[in-house]
């Protein structure tokens, strides 16, 4: 019995050794990243993602939320920063996950070879709404991406539509503006997501609902039922106010 057992152990040792070396090689091969990477800053918060595109001047820099556009065929380096608790940034089809840890910035480099929408989700348990902390990475052809960058850098476009104007009035006069930023208006809150171009994003509330005027209204009317425990309070609004404010937000393309 000694010989079969000893040979089985020997074979196991060889297989395990080979796996270990293969793992080391793969780690090295996956190490993308260089000096001309496109840099995007990601902050994880309970329970959404703040996305900042740096620029050479303050006008070039902008923030958005839960939707990250990247250029196809170029290395993108995400600078990951934990703000409240630990979150983990994970887009399975682009790369493995990397934690966002308060006090310990991390980085993750990815490269999308094909245009498309890549879903991501928080992978580290982060409290009540860990389940609803998704985001989307949208890989665009470079020209489309440049166009998107320009549109995002722009301030919110003024409107002449009466309902939209009324909605803006509601937004600025109620407590919405205390937490949310809409560049080009007096709303300069930084607690919640930047809403300058919220109407142009595919989802609201970190992947919870597709962005429509109806879903915006539903969300504003009762955020605690749709995503219990999240930090957006229910702001009492008349149905008239709710209609106009959702029209306003939907118009922010």
């Amino acid at each position: 019995m000694t010989i079969p057992v000893a040979s089985a152990v020997t074979v196991s040792v060889i297989i395990i050794g080979a796996f270990t070396l293969a793992s080391f090689n793969t780690t090295r091969a996956l190490n993308v990243g260089g000096s001309d990477d496109f840099i995007i800053k990601i902050r994880g918060l309970q329970w959404w993602w703040d996305v900042e595109y740096p620029g050479s001047s303050p006008e070039q820099r902008f923030q958005t939320a839960n939707e990250i556009h990247i250029p196809v065929g170029r290395n993108v380096r995400f600078q990951l920063e934990g703000i409240d608790v630990i979150h983990s940034f994970w887009v399975p089809s682009l790369a493995g996950k990397q934690d966002l840890i308060p006090g310990r910035p991390n980085e993750l480099s990815v490269r999308a070879e094909r245009p498309g929408v890549y879903r991501g989700q928080c992978a580290e348990f982060c409290g009540m709404q860990h389940a609803h902390m998704a985001f989307f990475v949208i890989a665009d052809e470079p020209s489309v991406f440049e166009q998107w960058l320009r549109a995002q850098r722009a301030l919110a476009a003024p409107s002449s539509d009466a309902e939209v104007l009324a909605g803006q009035q509601v937004f600025l006069s109620k407590s919405c503006a205390a937490c949310h930023m809409i560049r080009g208006t007096s709303a300069t809150g930084t607690t919640g997501p930047d809403l300058t171009h919220v109407g142009g994003r595919q989802y609201i509330a970190a992947g919870l609902l597709e962005t429509t005027r109806g879903s915006l209204a539903a969300w504003i009317a009762d955020p605690q039922t749709l995503k219990p425990g999240n930090n957006m309070p229910m702001v009492p609004l008349s149905s008239e106010e709710l209609r106009s404010v959702s029209a306003y937000l939907a118009s922010l393309k």
């Binding site: 019995m1 079969p4 057992v5 089985a8 152990v9 196991s12 040792v13 395990i16 796996f19 270990t20 293969a22 793992s23 080391f24 793969t26 780690t27 996956l30 190490n31 309970q46 934990g82 409240d84 608790v85 630990i86 983990s88 994970w90 399975p92 790369a95 493995g96 996950k97 990397q98 934690d99 840890i101 308060p102 006090g103 310990r104 991390n106 980085e107 879903r119 989700q121 928080c122 992978a123 580290e124 348990f125 982060c126 409290g127 009540m128 709404q129 860990h130 389940a131 992947g207 919870l208 219990p228 425990g229």
Partner: protein, 637 residues
């Protein structure tokens, strides 16, 4: 009275057998009634309580698992809200790890080790009584908190800052942290008792190379407990200090470090897996030998594998932290060590297979569970090799792949052997056999139900389903498999129900077992079933590794023990040569009072730091009572 006892100085050789047994029984017995029950220091009574309590926690944790599966069967289900769900999955993990898996292994050891090494009680029997009460109080604290909607909701790993003062308001996280203190105190106490029992109380002749493998595994496990548990006690105590009096161990804004928690937690948390697994390995070695009808193949290799696993267990913890951004070189080391631990595991599997191959296996229920263990544990081991690789792990970390992996190693690797061990040792503990028919039913239901429930979770993980989510959206491709998994979990539940029904029924109405129903080779089968309060009328003297096979008709015994006081034989660590007769403590109510005083202090300290000051006074009084000499012949020695 002291003089009386001295003048008599009765020895066992002075009596005929019935008088000797009556004499020993009167000195070792646990008096009837509540007072006797609270004051007993008999390792068998305490061990049984430990086992029953741990299995009660298994049942409770199982109910939580069923709730989790009902919630996840459908997308966007509304049975449980996020708040309740987070409490439930935290309770499930905490309960299974701290109140079931570790204690049940220690419980089996508390019952079995003194019998297997041929002594009359565990070392430090009053500490043993204390440890059970502490365990019970810790478990009660956690479950009562949960019933009052104060159950922890930060995961069984309680990562800061989520469990810190800023993000976990109320007392929920404190309940978790203080429950840790209770279970660690009891685990450390039991480990010390087991180490001393094994080193100093073995039957004469049971040299280190003749120790039964379950005893070896508990010796190694106890050292792992003693070395690993202080890390979690430091971590949980620091967390309580951060939360209660505003220290900043884990607060990066004040120079603390969030990642420090993870290092401390996993420095304990990974060895924890082996604290659960190594006893199971010992059970498997024992069962394989008995049912293969031959001594286990590769005794020395198996002992070395136990020790190698225990050493490597302390060099793996970072593989829980591969996505926290640690340096790549450091991660490579932990990849290599995580891979390497597969080798001692492989050695063990091959030795057991060789034993079965070379023997004449008798396929009774305990052996069925062992074979189920080999199948599932190998799968869990292979997925373990997979997650040891950094590039693979960064994808599957915190997904259902990992959920599948550790249920394979913990249920497959530890619960299967444990259930086999219960079927195996049940006749010794109760004097009655469990049902072979129900045993087969429960094995097949559990084995099939387990694999159908947990294997698909690998696929869910590869499909990107993260852990610890209370629901998922309908457009995710996960709902079909989740529904399937939830359905199969019912088969698994049915299997456990059959097991519990069988155990409860057999305890009252099972076939009488006799001393050695399996014709097993180790010393616990040399006494009656259930064993008398003094375990052995004469201390056995061992001449080989399998005394009841080698000395089948003629198990030698030692004489000259006093009958008028509780007495054990102390032997040398290596060769187990008899060194001395040593008194063993009598029953005492003080461990119970000490446990109550300690519990009050610990629970009070969740709410006020002053509890540590004022609460320590009753603890001191109880300890004085505990150690106060009572003038018994035992104190006299």
């Amino acid at each position: 009275m002291m003089d009386d006892a001295k003048s008599k100085d009765q020895r066992d050789s002075d009596f005929d057998r019935p008088a000797l047994e009556a004499g020993l029984a009167s000195i070792w017995k646990t008096p009837a009634g509540l007072w006797g029950a609270l004051a007993t220091v008999d390792h068998k009574i305490i061990g049984q309580r430990y086992i029953v309590t741990a299995f009660a926690f298994l049942a409770l944790g199982g109910v939580l698992a069923v709730l989790i599966r009902i919630q996840l069967a459908q997308p966007e289900a509304r049975l449980l809200g996020p708040d309740r769900y987070n409490q439930i999955f935290t309770m499930h993990g905490t309960n299974m790890m701290f109140l079931f898996a570790v204690p049940v292994m220690e419980a089996m050891a508390v019952y079995l080790i003194p019998l297997m090494v041929g002594t009359r009680n565990i070392a430090f029997p009053r500490l043993n009584a204390f440890s059970y009460w502490m365990f019970l109080a810790g478990g009660a604290l956690l479950w009562i908190a949960f019933a009052l909607d104060m159950g922890p909701d930060v995961g069984w790993f309680a990562y800061v800052p989520l469990s810190g003062p800023q993000y976990a308001a109320g007392k929920r996280a404190d309940m978790w942290a203080q429950m840790i203190t209770f279970t660690e105190v009891s685990a450390l106490a039991v480990s010390v008792e087991i180490v001393v029992t094994i080193f100093k109380q073995r039957a004469p002749g049971m040299s280190l190379d003749r120790i039964p493998l379950f005893v070896w595994s508990m010796l190694v496990t106890s050292f792992v407990v003693i070395l690993a548990m202080p890390a979690i006690m430091i971590a949980s105590t620091s967390l309580i200090l951060d939360r209660l009096i505003g220290t900043h161990f884990f607060n990066p804004a004040e120079g603390g470090d969030v990642l420090l928690w993870q290092h401390l937690f996993w420095f304990f948390g990974h060895p924890e897996v082996y604290i659960i697994f190594l006893p199971a390995v010992g059970m498997v070695s024992t069962l394989v030998a008995t049912f293969a009808r031959r001594p286990v193949f590769g005794y020395l290799a198996l002992v070395m594998a136990l020790i190698a696993t225990a050493v490597l267990a302390f060099g793996l913890w970072v593989h829980h932290m591969f996505v926290t951004g640690l340096p790549r070189l450091g991660e490579s080391f932990f990849t290599a060590s995580s891979m390497a631990i597969a080798i001692p595991a492989g050695v063990q599997i091959f030795c057991w297979l060789a034993t079965l191959w070379d023997g004449k296996p008798v396929f009774k229920t305990p052996l069925l569970f062992v074979i189920g263990f080999m199948f599932t544990f190998v799968i869990g081991g292979l997925s373990g090799v997979m997650v040891a690789s950094v590039p693979f792990d960064t994808q599957v970390h915190d997904t259902y792949f990992v959920v599948a992996h550790f249920h394979y190693v913990l249920i497959g690797g530890a619960v299967f052997p444990l259930l086999g061990a219960v079927y195996y040792w049940f006749p010794k503990i109760t004097g009655r056999m469990m049902s072979e028919r129900l045993g087969r039913w429960s094995f097949w239901l559990i084995f099939v139900g387990f694999n159908l429930t947990f294997f698909p979770m690998h696929i869910l993980g590869l499909q990107g389903m993260p852990r610890r989510i209370y629901t998922y959206q309908p457009d995710m491709p996960w709902h079909g498999l989740n529904l399937f998994v939830s359905g199969c979990a019912l088969i698994l539940t049915a299997g456990f129900l059959v097991f519990f029904v069988d155990a409860i029924r057999s305890a009252r109405r099972g076939e009488p077992a006799g001393d050695n129903p399996w014709d097993a080779p180790t010393l616990e089968w040399a006494t009656s079933s259930p064993p008398p309060s003094y375990n052995f009328p004469f201390i056995p003297v061992v001449e080989g590794s399998n005394p009841l096979w080698e000395q089948r008709e003629t198990l030698a015994v030692g004489g000259g023990m006093r009958v008028d006081r509780r007495e054990l034989i102390i032997t040398t660590v290596g060769a187990a040569e008899a060194e001395a007769r040593e008194a063993s403590p009598r029953n005492s109510i003080w461990p119970f009072w000490t446990a109550i005083a300690t519990s009050v202090m610990l629970i009070w300290s969740i709410f006020s730091p002053w509890a540590v000051v004022w609460g320590s006074i009753p603890v001191a009084i109880a300890l004085i009572g505990w150690f106060w000499p009572e003038g018994t012949p035992e104190d006299d020695s």
